[in-house]
Each structure stands twice: as C-alpha cells, then as structure tokens.
C-alpha cells in the first residue's frame, strides 16, 4: 500500500496528488510517468510526474477527472492509501542545451511540464513557458512556473487572461518574433496535435508527450501502440515523448476513444453507488 501525503483540488476538475514513494522519487527524471490504482477494483491509470522530492520521498502528479478511476482518486485524501503505485516508467525527456525552447503545457500538463521547464533551464536554455487555459480560473502553478522560466505566457481561449486565443496561435506569434530552437508540449492530445501542426512549416523540432490508453506500462500489453512515421511504437517503453511531426494523430485520436461508451457507463454506475 502507498500512502497519500496530500490531495488537493487545484482548479475545477483538476487535482494534485502527492504519494509517499521514496524509491520512485530517488529514480525519477523529467518526462517520466507512474501508474496508479485508486482501489483494488480500479483501472491502472498512467499519470505524468509533475514534481518529486527525494528528501521527503514523495511523487506529485496532477490529473484531470475523466472516468471512474480518476474520479475515485479525486475523492481520496491525505492519510488514505492506494493499492498500487509503480514507476518511474517511460523514457526521460531529452534534456540538452538546445538554445531557446518553448514549453507548452495545458490541462494536467501545466503540472507535468514543470520538471521539464526546470531541467531545461538548469541546462542553460532560454525557456519560454506557454500555458494554455480555457479561462483564467483554470490556471494553477502560475508562480511556480514563472519562477522556473525565463519568460512566462498564458493564453486563455476566452481572453480572460494573457494572450486572447488558443495556445498554438500564441506559439505561432512567438515563432514569428524570435528564433525558437525547440518546442515541447504536454497536455491534451488536441493541443499537442495543434502545436505540432503549427511548428511543422517552420521545421522546429517539436516533442510531444503522448497519452494513449495503457494497461501494464512496461511494454507487455501493447495497448499504447502509436504509429510514429512508418513504425509502430509502444508509448510506455519507447516514449511517452515522440516527434510531434511524425505522429499519426488520427489513429491516436481514434484509439483514445475506444472505450468512450464504457467510460460513461462505468461513471454512471459509480455515481449511482455514491448516492
């Protein structure tokens, strides 16, 4: 059993969870993920690592409530235990001195981009952090990210804060203004897709952290297979980060929707049991 140190509702529908897992904290690197189960009957859900503390022996993740298992997770509190927490999984982000790097984060990725921003900055990059929110009230970790970056930009789709529009548009503005050497995007699939489309004509290498459906997370089941160029890769062991210009996005969108009906049914059943 793994102990929950903290669980906090950051903004509507997005939660932070901090778990005591000293072994994982000892090993983890930016860009990696963990697999978590909220209870014995839950799904194994992959979550990107948003922060860790070696001294404290903790791992922090930020997650969006989408189905039953994430809903269950959002109802747990400090002191509760979960039956399964495993990691760190996947390959670490490529951290090097690239020059000027734009780190785009949206949704849960606002948290998950943080260790990448920090590591890139430490390597001497000029780091521009671009955060995508639908509206200002969905923004979190503003101070934390601002402190870690050289430049910090928020784009809000309703114009309530910062850049008025969708993050890929803000990204395009940046590219037209200055020389960008690399772009890294963590967030929902559509954001990653759109950012990759934006940078493609400019031939700026763009890394995306894919989030397909997974089961074991160690390369055993192949649920997370994604087509990268002509090759099929397993996101759990070959990724999760890939070249955004080579991803078969249409296939990824379709595969992520495989259990859409089941997820709704499951959630309805679970909510019935709560009442």
């Amino acid at each position: 059993m793994f102990k929950i140190i903290k669980r906090e509702n950051l903004v509507p529908n997005i939660h932070l969870i901090k778990i005591h897992a000293p072994k994982i904290a000892e090993k983890c690197k930016p860009g990696q993920f963990v697999i978590i189960m909220p209870d014995e009957k839950g799904e194994r859900i992959p979550l990107s690592i948003a922060d860790w503390d070696k001294e404290e022996g903790t791992i922090t993740s930020v997650f969006l409530v989408v189905g039953t298992s994430t809903f269950k997770l959002s109802r747990l509190n400090a002191g509760d235990s979960i039956p399964s927490f495993v990691g760190p999984l996947g390959r670490a982000s490529e951290i090097d001195n690239f020059g000027t790097v734009v780190c785009v984060g949206g949704c849960y990725g606002i948290g998950a981009i943080y260790p990448i921003v920090k590591a890139l900055k430490e390597k001497g990059n000029e780091v521009i952090t671009l955060i995508d929110v639908r509206s200002k009230y969905l923004l979190y970790w503003e101070e934390k990210l601002k402190k870690a970056s050289d430049e910090f930009i928020v784009s809000s789709r309703d114009g309530s804060y910062g850049f008025n529009g969708y993050a890929p548009e803000a990204l395009k503005d940046l590219i037209q203004k200055e020389k960008i050497d690399r772009v890294i995007v963590v967030g929902c699939t559509y954001l990653m897709y759109k950012c990759s489309e934006t940078t493609k004509p400019y031939k700026i290498k763009t890394t995306v952290s894919l989030n397909p459906i997974m089961v074991d997370g160690t390369g055993m089941c192949g649920a997370c297979r994604v087509k990268i160029g002509e090759e099929t890769k397993f996101a759990c062991v070959d990724g999760p980060e890939f070249d955004g210009h080579s991803v078969d996005w249409e296939e990824l969108f379709a595969r992520r929707k495989f259990y859409f009906d089941d997820e709704i049914l499951s959630l309805c059943e679970w909510e019935k049991r709560l009442i």
Binding site: K41, S84, V86, C221, A254, W270
Partner: protein, 491 residues
Amino acid sequence: MKEKELYREEFEKEWRKELRKSIPVKERMKIPRQKMPEREPEERIKYFKEVNLGLTEDQAVEEAKRCLDCANPQCIKGCPVRIDIPTFIKLIEKGKFVEAAKKIKETNSLPAICGRVCPQEIQCEKECTMKKATGVPIAIGNLERFVADYERETGKVDIPEIAPSTGKKVAIIGSGPAGLTVAGELIKKGHQVTIFEALHKPGGVLVYGIPEFRLPKHILNAEIDYLRRMGVEIITDFVVGMTATIEDLKEEGYEAFFIGTGAGLPNFMRIEGENLVGVYSANEYLTRVNLMKAYEFPEYDTPVYKGKRVAVIGGGNVAMDAVRTAKRLGAERAMIIYRRSKAEMPARVEEIKHAEEEGIEFHFLTNPIRYIGDKNNRLIAMECIKMELGEPDASGRRRPIPIKGSEFKMEVDMVVVAIGQSPNPLIPKTTPQIKVGKWGNIEVDWETMQTSMEGVYAGGDIVRGGATVILAMGDGRRAAQSIDRYLKDKR
C-alpha cells in the same frame, strides 16, 4: 544421478513390492482411464468458472491402479522438473493422498498449477508405458491435480523443513512460474528470498494470462501464500530496471539474482490496419480480462470490448484462452484463424477439445493479410488468404505457403493477435552487461542457467522466448541449484 538412486530406493521399498503384487498387470491394463468430470459446454460458456472439476477420490485410486509401476519408469524422463511420478501415483493407490502431494512437492512447489496447465500429452504421459502398450497413458496430470487439490482443500498443507539461515539475500525478478519455482527452492535452503514484481499482483502469466476457467485465481493465490508462509517476501509494484536496477539491488546486499521476466512483449504481424480500434494483442486482451477483471465490468473499472464476430489469430494455448474468453463475453462467432492445419497446432489437446465443444470455429490454413476499418478507424472486416503446407521448416512443422488469388474478406468487429511473444526488453536494456541473443532473449549456460553477468541467472520465457509454464519451472529448478551452489562457494 542422485535422483535416479532415490527413485530406485523408493521402488524397492517393501510396500511398493506388495502393492505391485496385489493386482496382476493384466488386470491393471483392463481398467479404463478415468474421465475427469467437467462442466457442460452450454453451461460453462456463460461464465468464467473452472471447466474441469477434478477426479473424485474413487476415480483417483482407480486411475492410480492402472499404473504398472515400471522398473524403468519413462514418465519421469518426460517431466521437466523430474517428479517421482510412480511413487506419488502408488501413494494414491494406497489412499495416502497427502503423502502423495508431499512427494510431488519435493521437486515441484506448484502442483495444483502444473496439474492444470502442463501439456502432459507431450511430456510425462507421452513416455508412459501404458501409452505404448495400450495407447492410453495414465492420467498423470489429473492425478497431480487431484492430490494438490486434496491437500489444499483438507487443510493439510504443511510447511516443509527450512534449512538454517545462510544470511544470503537473493533477488528474484518476476513472479511468474520460473520465479516462483526459484523462490520455493531457495527458501528451503535457508536463503533470504525476495521476489520483485512489476504488476500489482504476483503470478506473472498465471495471473494476467491464463483465464479463470482454466486456472482459478484462488488456487494460484493458495500456492503463492504457501511460498509466503515459507518465508518468501514478495514486493509488487516494483519494476527492476526502472524502480531500481540490478546494480542498486547489489548495493542493498543482494548477492544473487534470478531474472524471470517472461515473454512480455507481444508480437504483431506488421500488416495493414493492425492499430485499428478493435485489434488487440492477446496480452492486452487477457490482461484486461484476467488481471483487471474486465469480465466483471462495471463492478471493476477496467473495460474490455465485447466483440460479436471475433477472430483470434494463432494456434497456441494463448489463442485458445483468448477465443474461449471472447465466447464467454458474448461473441456470436468466436473463431480461430490459423495458418497451418489442425495437426500442427501447438495448443494442448485438451484446450482444443474444450474449444471445439464450446462452439469455437476453426479456420485452418488461413492467414490475415490486412484489417479494414471504417471512417472512425474502427475494425469492420479483415482480408485473409488461404494457405497450403509445403516442406517442413526449422521448427519441423510444414511451412505454410499462401495460395495466390485465394484472398477473401471476413466480417469481424474484433481481432486478437495471438502469434507469440518476445522476451521483455526492460532488463536487458537497463543492464547492458547481460548478453542477449538475436531475438532479445537473455543468453544463458543451459547447465547452470547463468547469464554473462556473475551471480545473475535467468530462465523461462526471457531465455526461451515463449514456451510453457513447466519449462519455465524446469529452468527455475536448475537455476536454483546453481544459485545455491554459487552462494555456498562464495561463503
């Protein structure tokens, strides 16, 4: 040769001599092979309960009487873990069921599992003298299962003698059949044994792969519990290579290692449409159903697609497990698509028979060449080609050759690819000192099961690349003997 002497010693015992004399050979040969009761096909396809129901006590004794107790028993040679088969069978004939179970456990700590999943027809039962004499071997597997179940159900499972502690720590990576066997052997020798398992439940393929209707989880859990009671520590949620490397574990004081991480990398055919929604690897499909209990969705959160027209590609045990699972989950047509003919199928005879009884369709000499999706990338059909058999290939089986122009389409809404697995690459990738072969399998000295790294041993599918439970256990047994020797010499 120590083993052989032991068998001989048992054979020469007075009670055995008397028992042999008690029924004339001719009479023994007249007794028919006892048929194990099983659930009716039309019943069992409605749920996941175990198909086989086990021999009754009377049946077991009757079956044991068929064994001629040969002076030169061949059955033992067919057993990868060298169980003293005649002795345990004769103990059954005497009604000493618990003693029979203990006899098996001297060489095999997982008899309830082996009795259920071993391909006896190509091992012990193939060599049986009765098979050669009458064509019908002794039901060794069913008898093994009977005594293991009897011992467990009557609560007469005793912990065997454990040697005084050696103070040596052994790390076992992977809790499948190979790892569990090594753990059982080494704990008896007084070593401190820890198993590291990546998933949240121990058992490896026994828990994620083999379905409930063939190996009920409570039986696996009882076997694992038995190891725990002997003192084996099992740490789940620990991916060696990621959570800690072998080098890290060495620093923590582990002096010897056994890698039994299995064939955890599903093979695909690399044909068009394999990533369509509705195409599963057998590993994923079975893991969802067995480990995550998707057949109890939505009570359990993990879903699985319930295909109506399901094609399972392959002819092995995993393919049989997948197709029979699909049937139980409501498939109207559950089909095996196999590129060779029935004679070449690697699945156990019993699994094929059970599948046939359950209404599984077999399409032999057929191979998929592409999968077809709709505009939403969802599988709707597949295109196949007919095959014919040519000359035997490296495996000794006749090579299937596509028949030009024989392409045809089949409507399917779900496909499970069960064409085999490759060794899981996680450990080789994170431990470059370990030498791997062409297929990513860890290379070992087959006598000792030692890898190219000192103190590190390996066995099972990580070495063999997709074999059986019992071969993994045979490897485990040999590796355990070497590890014990290694630790003792090190002292």
